[in-house]
């Protein structure tokens, strides 16, 4: 077990199974097909992401360096949250990027009843340590426990 302390972007408490991408997470490429065609498991559709392509993202603790790609990224994340097809939480090794921040904030302000804790600045060590399937617990203060 190891604990990491990050910065809270949107608060919340959750426990979920880790899904780890060490490459930048392309939100549009990863989520659009799954949302559009009713993939209940919300499998990652980004052919360029060898870490998580084809894996379910629904209710997972998505561990990532940052998001990349199209500026539709934030609204795709917002839609995923509004439709209840979002990851359980998003845990960034780096400082959050503008697209992911937009998605997290839009969901927080405009979607009732959805909590998707987002923590950033967890550091490279976090991403080096965490592996797919590990149990992740996120606390309100940005403490992330990996076991």
């Amino acid at each position: 077990m190891k604990q990491f302390k990050g910065r809270v972007v949107t608060p919340g408490k959750v426990t979920a199974e880790a899904l780890v991408t060490r490459e930048g997470f392309n939100t549009l490429a990863s989520m659009q097909m799954a949302l559009q065609f009713g993939d209940k498991e919300v499998k990652c559709g980004d052919q360029s992401n060898k870490d998580i392509y084809g894996k379910s993202m629904l209710n997972k603790a998505l561990c990532l360096p940052q998001t990349i790609g199209s500026t539709t990224g934030g609204l795709v994340l917002y839609c995923a949250c509004a439709m209840g097809k979002n990851p359980a939480c998003m845990l960034f090794a780096n400082h959050i990027d503008s697209l992911a921040a937009a998605g997290a904030v839009l969901a927080d302000v405009w979607v009732d009843g959805v909590t998707m804790p987002v923590v950033d600045s967890l550091g490279d060590e976090f991403l080096n340590y965490v592996k797919d399937g590990m149990k992740i617990t996120v606390d309100e203060d940005g403490t992330v426990t990996v076991e």
């Binding site: 930048g24 559009q36 940052q66 790609g69 500026t71 934030g74 990027d97 302000v109």
Partner: protein
């Protein structure tokens, strides 16, 4: 974040609940980046990324309706990304059925919303709004609330405007209140280069391959490219701007670049030279072998990897007028050399409606039509984002389209060969 009295009053609800939520969104967005204040938007027009009436995006249209119902839509007019559908683009019966009955069922509804929200005009649908023919071209130093990654990186890098890589919806929210949070690419510090790219290739690299290599390496950082002016010159003429349009789109989609500097060419690099490079900047050397390595690593996810391409898309981002003319010459010449009259693969060149309007006034339009190439205002990305296209062997010179779909990247020379001779 320190707000002015007026901004604080809006946040407290002085202009209604919806306006307060818009302001709260911008304040939280800025807080995520420790923005100290909100600054006024100074561009004449905005640019939005969301142009498509996808059924699945209903939460977006619900939110837009809240804005319209509350009567807080901005006075700032805007252009928007390309339309997702055009009957001129080849599609089979099943594709047309899926497009119209399952995917883009909200298109008409959403376009009516856009009109009420402040669309510049009925033809303002393009990702290259900064083209002269379209007319949404910000001035150097303008503060923008734009989205669309390829347009943002162009506005920052080539035009010297200031804009963060805003997401869709955030784009219109900035415009509604008239302010954007001051952080990142709006600040002098945020515009300093944190990577130095040394270009050591033996010939001018394909714009979209070079942009891809740099994007994947630097991610969201700011690169300063040395050696590209050898091929592009030191003036932002039509050829250089077209190259940078495609280069930038690849940096932004294969990575998350929002601003780049090209030594001796782009405005801030010309003004400040190497003084714009931050202390401790990292270095990336690109030679022929490195570009080949990047290209060879692109995955091919076609069901049959050696399938004959069924469709070719050029123009993601949309082509310029000069690009359409140049490709007309190239395709004609290639066909003649290979003894063919029509392109060997159904091919679509995409451009802004107003660029196409100008192109259609030239003698090139009839010549291009005679080669079998179709022109369209469509967004190739939106066309391809469905399971029916997943196994369809589509080729493209766009590294953006490759990133988001199953389309396979071909260099410009490979595209020309495939269209006029056959094979790769």
């Amino acid at each position: 974040m320190i707000l002015t009295e007026k901004q604080q009053a809006i946040l407290n609800g002085a202009e209604g609940e919806t306006m307060a939520k818009v302001m709260k969104t911008l304040v939280m967005y800025g807080d995520a980046f420790e923005a100290e204040k909100l600054v006024p938007i100074t561009s004449k027009y905005n640019h939005l990324v969301t142009s498509f009436g996808l059924k699945v995006m209903s939460p977006v249209y619900d939110l837009m309706q809240q804005i319209l119902d509350a009567g807080v839509a901005s006075g700032q007019k805007f252009s928007v990304d390309p339309r997702p559908l055009d009957s001129k683009v080849p599609a089979n019966f099943l594709q047309n059925f899926v497009f119209k009955n399952f995917m883009y069922t909200k298109q008409d509804f959403y376009e009516k919303q856009l009109d009420k929200l402040g669309l510049m005009d009925k033809d303002a649908f393009t990702c290259t709004c900064y083209m002269d023919e379209v007319g949404n071209k910000p001035k150097k130093g303008d503060i923008l609330s734009w989205a669309e990654s390829s347009a943002v990186v162009y506005a920052n890098s080539v035009l010297g405007a200031r804009c963060n890589r805003n997401s869709g919806i955030i784009d219109i929210m900035g415009s509604i209140v008239g302010y954007v949070p001051y952080f990142g690419l709006l600040t002098d510090e945020g515009r300093k280069a944190t990577w130095v790219i040394k270009l050591n290739t033996t010939k001018k690299p394909d714009a979209q391959l070079l942009g891809s290599a740099i994007g994947m390496k630097v991610m969201e950082d700011v690169p300063y490219v040395i050696g590209l002016d050898k091929y592009l010159g030191s003036e932002l003429n039509d050829e250089a701007c077209t190259y940078l349009k495609d280069f930038g789109a690849a940096t932004a989609s294969n990575g998350a670049v929002g601003l780049y500097h090209i030594e001796n060419l782009t405005p801030e690099a010309k003004e400040m030279g190497k003084a714009i490079i931050a202390e401790g900047a990292k270095e990336y050397i690109i030679d022929d072998a490195e570009l080949q390595r990047v290209k060879d690593n692109y995955p091919v996810i076609w069901k049959k990897k050696d399938a004959k391409p069924k469709l070719c898309f050029m123009g993601c981002p949309h082509m310029s007028l000069q690009q359409l003319k140049d490709w007309t010459d190239k395709v004609e010449k290639g066909l003649k050399e290979n003894g063919n009259k029509k392109v060997l693969i159904p091919t679509v060149f995409t451009a802004a409606p107003k660029v196409l309007e100008e192109f259609n006034k030239t003698e090139y339009a009839a010549r291009l039509k005679a080669t079998g190439v179709v022109t369209s205002y469509i967004c190739p990305l939106m066309y391809m984002n469905n399971p029916l296209c997943k196994t369809m062997p589509v080729i493209t010179s766009s590294n953006k389209l490759r990133t988001y779909t199953s389309a396979r990247y071909y260099s410009d020379d490979e595209i020309l060969n495939a269209l006029t001779k056959g094979g790769k």
